[in-house]
Symmetry: C2
Subunit: 331 residues, 2 copies
């Protein structure tokens, strides 16, 4: 059996017991998430994957471009804004589909395409965190039903069975203090790197945990500003052993004037302008909010392969799916 | 309430009861298909959507190209070959995801992106047809649970309740005779157009039906040649009132030498060569078959929006989903 991380001549693995087991675990995780969504009255939404800039995450520089009948289209990184536009009507909505990232690194951490599980609903950050815990535990519980596949992959099942929600929550500010008291020198306002998340994970007992209330400047433009402290947003990242950040989540700004101002002053829009874009690329989304209004809501995106990494206990994301796609590979 | 087919300023519909109902019906149809797959032990597979030519359907001219780190990639039209490569190991597999078509027409029949539900498994054409009937009836049954949404959309529920499988099967050869006896002049070997399917549909009592055993020359290269008549393949299209062809299905060629010859002489490869491609673009797929071998199997692709069209009884595919994407639209 070759290494499951092999991407060149991937077909050599297609008859391997191990690859079949990975596919089964991945399927069980997706199914577990859907079971939670169904039990909690979420409606699935079919969202577009060739999009205007409204399909982009904060890092506009990792968008794949598509010539769309002479217009510039992008391959979607997120369905968030499409889901959000239906929350006033449908409340709890979700989508599961490919997220595309033009990441040039072909290593154990980067894929250019992966399934993102996204939900949006009328709730606040505290309620959202409970839903994230609910989805995660449902995924884990369903994967644990695939004991034979887990055994084939040498997974430590007792480690998985010991995982129980609710999980620890720590603010970004506290997390920075904790990291720095263990030898790092992170400035308040810096984004946390994988190595910092790893340090925190060890510090907090190698269990999943939430970091909340990140600095506004480093997060997606429509995250809702905290009412008490305008430097931070009501956001959270869910951090897992082995994989690091597996979920990004936040309350969303839902008032037109605030949102317009935030978009206009965002780092994302400045990046987009360098690529020839403008605020006009957000026209439908801004029009939708201005004309229809919205309601308080929150949501998140769950990176499937990061969950699989945690379940399998592996440092290499390429071994977590049947057809891992990165810049060195094209099937 | 504006027309649900409106794509310009789509956001004007996002709070409409009707649009919410369409999204709910679409969700119910997908869920119904998944229930069938689960009950029948299919494993879901995550397939890539940026692909080599192995992600293309027979009509290579409707591929969207992507600059993939200096290599040419395409947006997938089908996950068929990826599923097929896992059939020897996993037997029953399926995927549900976006299929991209660079169709320039922005009308009531064309979308540039739509969900395709695909299955592959070890079986023959007769067994496959029974699975298609099973998936279809499960989708329909689940949509019928959304009576309020159907009523909001003015759907004739009694029409849907009268639909029972199994459905009529007619060979392509017989279908051509039947069409021509009603005033058309279709030559054996021509592809059937939407208007021909419509004529047949009326002739056969406005119920779903299967056309089987199409001419080899007009179908995807890896469809299996019929043992008694080498001019036809063991294929079927599933035709629905309102939408026409909703499913394309076939036994797959599984022997390397036969498949290589078929690919080499296919119209698809000639088209691909005009775009600068070559048989090398199928390398992983051919290597996989040559090195691993395969087993007799068959599969299909179900166009979700065509099923929704049938359920809602509408001629306009743009009214069958929340975010209909065509060449005139980009959200």
């Amino acid at each position: 059996m070759q290494d499951l991380a092999q991407t060149i001549n991937r077909h050599e693995l297609f008859r391997a017991e191990e690859l079949g087991s990975v596919v089964k675990i991945e399927a069980a995780l997706i199914e577990g998430a859907r079971q939670y969504f169904k039990q909690n009255n979420f409606t699935e939404v079919v969202v577009p994957h060739i999009t205007a800039a409204t399909g982009a995450c904060e890092n506009v520089n990792t968008l794949f471009g598509v010539d769309y009948f002479g217009k510039r289209g992008w391959l979607a990184q997120t369905g968030q804004l499409y889901l959000e536009s239906l929350v006033p009507k449908l409340d709890r909505v979700f989508c599961i589909g490919p997220s595309f990232r033009a990441e040039a690194e072909a290593d154990n951490r980067h894929l250019t395409e992966f399934p993102l599980l996204e939900m949006e609903l009328q709730c606040n950050l505290d309620q959202l965190i409970k839903h994230i815990e609910g989805v995660f535990m449902s995924m884990l519980t369903n994967a644990l039903k695939r004991e034979q596949a887990l055994s084939t992959l040498g997974t430590d099942i007792s480690r998985l069975k010991s995982i129980k929600s609710p999980f620890k929550r720590v603010t970004y500010t506290q997390a920075v203090k904790d990291i720095n008291s263990h030898g790092w020198d992170v400035k308040w306002g810096d984004d946390l790197k994988a190595i910092h998340e790893k340090t925190l994970c060890e510090l907090y007992g190698n269990k999943p945990f939430f970091i909340t209330h990140y600095p506004r400047a480093i997060k997606f433009f429509n995250m809702r500003t905290n009412a008490q402290d305008s430097k931070i947003v009501n956001s959270t990242d869910f951090i897992l052993p082995y994989s690091g950040e597996a979920v990004g989540a936040a309350e969303r700004e839902h008032e037109y004037e605030i949102l317009y101002e935030k978009l206009e002053s965002s780092a994302m829009l400045q990046q987009l302008k360098k690529l020839g874009g403008s605020i006009e690329d957000f026209k439908w989304y801004l029009d939708c909010l201005r004309e229809n209004g919205s309601v308080p809501h929150a949501g998140c995106g769950i990176g499937l392969n990061r969950i699989t990494q945690f379940v399998l206990g592996t440092q290499d994301i390429r071994g977590c799916t049947g057809f891992p796609l990165n810049s060195a590979t094209l099937y």
